[in-house]
Symmetry: C2
Subunit: 298 residues, 2 copies
């Protein structure tokens, strides 16, 4: 039986670990939160007292952590670095969204000990994590990508090989920067049309079928009432928080700075989402950016 250690059982990691257990993997879960561990246990995971206990002798080690420093601390330079206990034939799959440099450095540190490491950030949100329909964007060798397949398929639907180590993080950050741009542009275009007398649903349909067509118009319309199941029609609850988009745009700015890549549109989008957060909207779904554009009473 294949043993998978799963470190980090938050809103994303919790349901991902549960899907692995449901698919028949022997999942050894660890988190700092006792409540998260209880939930994991009720969903068929073994629970471990420490990350080291979870990772020892595991065939795969998956991590889902907030930022690069946590990933580096867990594997390389924390109190009990997992690269000291993971067996050489195992593969580490880090699903955290972190900076590409850290991903490359941790991969290199693993390689020194003969341990494989891929970056495999996800998109698809909490809903995708629960439904097992996440998208994984993987950076690593062809052999490592092949090795990761059975585990990733138990948690996701689309699994892409972006390139070598770090490429998964770069591709994710490019995608999410583009997403921020097209969501801001969509909010802006719909708002201008509505202020000029157009029906938001009619205008959305025209643009969706024309050259303005994009993911937001297809599945995530930011105007309340146009799309029944979109966060916009549920008070902008659920979905992908403004705070998380701002985190990803910060990573995009880092990549831009390190590589001297011009990002005028991404920078503008980042400013808009940050203005929107300053207005007290950090916990709302990111499509609530529409509210920043709309007229308030004077």
């Amino acid at each position: 039986m294949t043993t998978v250690a799963f470190i980090g059982l938050g809103n994303m990691g919790g349901p991902m670990a549960a899907n692995l257990a449901k698919a028949g993997f022997n999942v050894r879960a660890f988190d700092l939160s006792a409540q998260a561990l209880e939930t994991a246990k009720s969903q068929g995971c073994e629970i471990a007292a420490t990350a080291s206990e979870a990772a020892t002798d595991a065939d795969f080690v998956i991590s889902m952590l907030p930022a690069g420093k946590h990933v580096r601390g867990l594997y390389v330079d924390g109190d009990a670095p997992l690269f000291e206990v993971i067996k050489p034939s195992a593969l580490v799959i880090d699903c955290s969204t972190i900076d590409a440099d850290t991903a490359r450095q941790v991969a290199a540190a693993g390689a020194e000990k003969g341990i494989g490491f891929v970056d495999a950030p996800v998109s698809g949100g909490v809903g995708g994590a629960q439904a097992g329909t996440l998208t994984f964007i993987v950076g690593g060798s062809e052999a490592q990508f092949a090795q990761a397949q059975p585990v990733l398929q138990a948690m996701g639907k689309n699994i892409f090989h972006a390139g070598d180590h770090g490429a998964g993080q770069v591709a994710k950050v490019c995608n999410n920067m583009l997403l921020s741009i097209l969501m801001a542009g969509t909010c802006e275009a719909i708002n201008m049309g509505v202020k000029n007398g157009l029906d938001p649903a009619v205008l959305s349909e025209i643009m969706k079928q024309s050259s303005g067509g994009n993911w937001a118009l297809n599945v995530y319309n930011p105007y309340p009432g146009v799309m029944e199941n979109a966060p916009a029609s549920k008070g902008y609850q659920g979905g992908f928080q403004v705070d998380l988009m701002i985190k990803d745009l910060g990573l995009a700015m880092d990549v831009s700075q390190q590589s001297a890549s011009p990002v005028p549109m991404g920078s503008a989008a980042r400013s808009l989402f940050t203005l929107h957060k300053a207005g007290g909207n950090g916990k709302l779904d990111f499509s609530s950016l529409l509210k920043l554009y709309q007229d308030k009473s004077e």
Copy 2:
């Protein structure tokens, strides 16, 4: 037999008139260019000595002109305003991309004489005009929209009713502003990915199937070689010129200004396309904006 007067036989109007003649309409064509008239004649149109001669007794009058002042001059306040000669049961279909205010004013001037007028700007470019697959975005009453159908169907594929007079122009300008934003964002994201070691085709495919998906990635990839038939793979020849995008973004800025609609992303995109034009690229396809982002040798 239904007679259609067609005024303005440029790169777009010429093939549109030819498609009407091919569909069996009696087309009376007029243009200031003798050569355009010759071409129209060879494609089955009657040619008229003046716009008034073409429009007198016609069932439909179609115009395809560069800007609002030309449309107003043709119908309302020029030397020989067509509203003096068009019969009241006729419908005027103005396919020019002009400002919404002029469209509304000309519609009102027509209504005073009992002549119907709809704004019906197109998208789909010269290729769409030739193939008869244009998109028409129509502003006018329900009855006028219905009346225009047989004529528009002979020239286009998707025919949308955006709303009342002027709504066609507003919807087109919203769409094209959004298009400029998503093209700039797509150029920016691909360029940053490539500078960080990713393959442009692999990154494009990942974003296309993820939340960065948009029309440019689907049918108009700006990176040379990714999409065989896109202008990017043909030296950015053909397609939709930077100069025309800048014209449409100027109209978007007018709509924004008149309605106090905030357009930070559209303004940023307009600045980028204008910088690109300043670099001597006004006649290239608009996806050539990628070149503005790419490194040149120092």
